[in-house]
């Protein structure tokens, strides 16, 4: 089964660019990615730029899209990245999710992928 792992964390508390903490975090993600690539579970995975760069789009009534600058959701944690991983079942998915660094500096939501055939 394929699962999406949605990584949430407080981006305002993220390490500064150029800080050793950020290097450490990037290395931790690199190690996890390498592990799931080696095991064959890896399908996709990306980090996202922070919400300041986001645009929310809704289809307008007359064909021109309505855009909003950023999600501006009043939540403590924001979506900051994702993985798509192949796992035998939810047990395996939960174990992998716990190894993603975001599980320590935020949280990971595990969602099975809906196979719309």
């Amino acid at each position: 089964m394929r699962y999406a792992f949605l990584l949430y964390y407080d981006e305002s508390a993220s390490p500064e660019p150029g800080s050793p903490e950020l290097d450490e975090r990037i290395a931790a993600y690199g190690a996890f990615t390498e592990e799931v690539q080696k095991s064959g579970a890896f399908q996709a995975g990306e980090a996202l730029q922070n919400t300041a760069t986001a645009t929310v789009v809704r289809a307008g009534g007359n064909g021109s899209p309505l855009t909003t600058d950023g999600p501006f959701a009043e939540t403590k944690e924001q979506l900051g990245g994702f993985y798509i991983l192949e796992c035998a079942n939810l047990d395996e998915a939960v174990e992998l999710a716990a190894k993603i660094p975001a599980a320590s500096h935020g949280s990971v939501e595990v969602r099975p992928i809906w196979d719309v055939r």
């Binding site: 035998a88 079942n89 939810l90 047990d91 939960v94 595990v110 099975p112 809906w114 055939r117």
Partner: protein, 412 residues
């Protein structure tokens, strides 16, 4: 076929007894609890039509499973979308006719209970689903037992069945590395079901007795399927021993009777023997756990024919070990009371004087009631009065308030 009672009521009874086993067999085949349940219900409808005339088959579980499999395949054939989704089921269509009569169907209940108690389901969902799937309790029965609306129970079950199917919750006994944690959850769920039936005094007495019986039945099934897991045996022993006192726990006018005041001739001796026999089997594995220790304490109470024959020293030692495994404040309170019974009130009071413990239990009525009782017995009347007054403040019903009034009056 044997000529036994095959009335509709007898069919219902057999169905109820076999429900968990049959749903488990169907679920391990379909990997879908909704499909499994519908098929079992369809098969039951056929049984209600044919069994009263033809008699109940030798192996009702196998009969229902075979009939249920046919119903699933019929349903898939009628519905192309479903058929595509469950292709693998239709392909292995050769339903084994041999199953119909005497063959034992494989027991898949362990896989089902581990799925129902999966840690990614909320606790109340685990409890509800276990009662529905393994126990065959109906939605209205579960709603009455937990005093929640039927719609809430129904929604919980529907949502959980969907999550199990679509999120890939496995129908298996967990791998050895995961087993200890997963088994803890299953045992906790069973014990919660038991306590819901045993502790609460509100609600329908019949439904509550049913919950205890169901928890004991689940424990017995687990004990049969995992005979080398001492905590499984320990929990089942614990529930049997507690439940053996049921008849003496409430007075005819509905008051709770304390252990020391219970009429011990009302205790169910046969059930006590079953409990202690299971506990004996468990301790041979030399892997003590919280359920075995609690069962050992319950067994010592059960074996004392009169309150003054209770072996308090041993009970105090067992509580001490329990506090090491599970160092929560209530266990430490019980340990202190046992020490007081063994060595005198001062020894118990000394343990209760621990500031951290007293702080943690400050809002817990039984703490003040126990402390008051020990102070009274130590002759420290003034302090006993204020402890009883504090307990009275925390009393949650009129019976408790009346009890403390009585105690206070006796001291003045």
């Amino acid at each position: 076929m044997p000529l036994v009672d095959s009335s509709a009521a007898a069919v219902e009874r057999v169905f109820r007894e076999e429900y968990g086993r049959v749903v488990a067999a169907m679920a391990s085949w379909t990997r879908d609890l909704s499909l499994a349940e519908e098929a079992v219900q369809d098969a039951f409808a056929v049984a209600l039509e044919t069994w009263p005339g033809q008699g109940i088959p030798n192996n009702p579980a196998a009969w229902i499973t075979t009939t249920g499999r046919r119903k699933v395949i019929d349903r898939l054939r009628r519905d192309r979308t479903l058929e595509r989704k469950y292709e693998h089921l239709v392909q292995e269509d050769t339903v084994d006719e041999q199953w119909l009569e005497d063959e034992q169907i494989p027991d898949e209940r362990l896989g089902l209970i581990f799925a129902c108690c999966h840690p990614t389901l909320a606790r109340e969902v685990q409890v509800t689903l276990t009662l529905r799937m393994l126990g065959g309790l109906t939605v209205p029965e579960i709603a009455r037992a937990f005093l929640v609306p039927e719609a809430t129970v129904a929604k919980r079950i529907t949502r959980a069945k969907q999550k199990i199917r679509d999120a890939g919750i496995p129908f298996d006994t967990p791998a050895p590395a995961r087993l200890p944690d997963r088994l803890d959850t299953v045992l906790l769920v069973i014990y919660l079901i038991f306590n819901e039936g045993y502790s609460a005094t509100a609600g329908d007495a019949l439904v509550r007795r049913e919950l205890c019986a169901e928890a004991i039945r689940l424990g017995s099934v687990m004990s049969a399927l995992m005979p080398d897991e001492p905590e499984v045996l320990g929990l089942t022993a614990l529930m049997l021993l507690h439940d053996a006192r049921r008849g003496a726990r409430v007075s005819p006018d509905g008051r709770i009777v304390l252990l020391e005041d219970q009429d011990r001739t009302l205790w169910d001796r046969e059930q006590i023997e079953r409990g202690t026999a299971l506990l004996d089997r468990a301790v041979r594995y030399r892997a003590p756990g919280q359920y075995q220790l609690q069962a050992a304490i319950a067994a010592l109470h059960a074996l004392a024919e009169r309150p003054e024959e209770t072996e308090w020293e041993e009970i105090a030692a067992l509580y001490g070990r329990l506090a090491q495994i599970n160092p929560n404040a209530v266990v430490r309170l019980n340990a202190a009371v046992a020490v007081a019974m063994a060595e005198g009130p001062d020894a118990g009071l000394e343990l209760l004087a621990d500031e951290e413990l007293a702080g943690e239990l400050d809002d817990y009525m039984p703490f003040h009631a126990a402390r008051a009782d020990l102070l009274r017995r130590a002759g420290r009347t003034g302090e006993a009065v204020s402890a009883y007054e504090r307990a009275r403040e925390l009393a949650s019903n009129a019976l408790e308030t009346a009890y403390f009034d009585e105690r206070l009056a006796a001291l003045q």
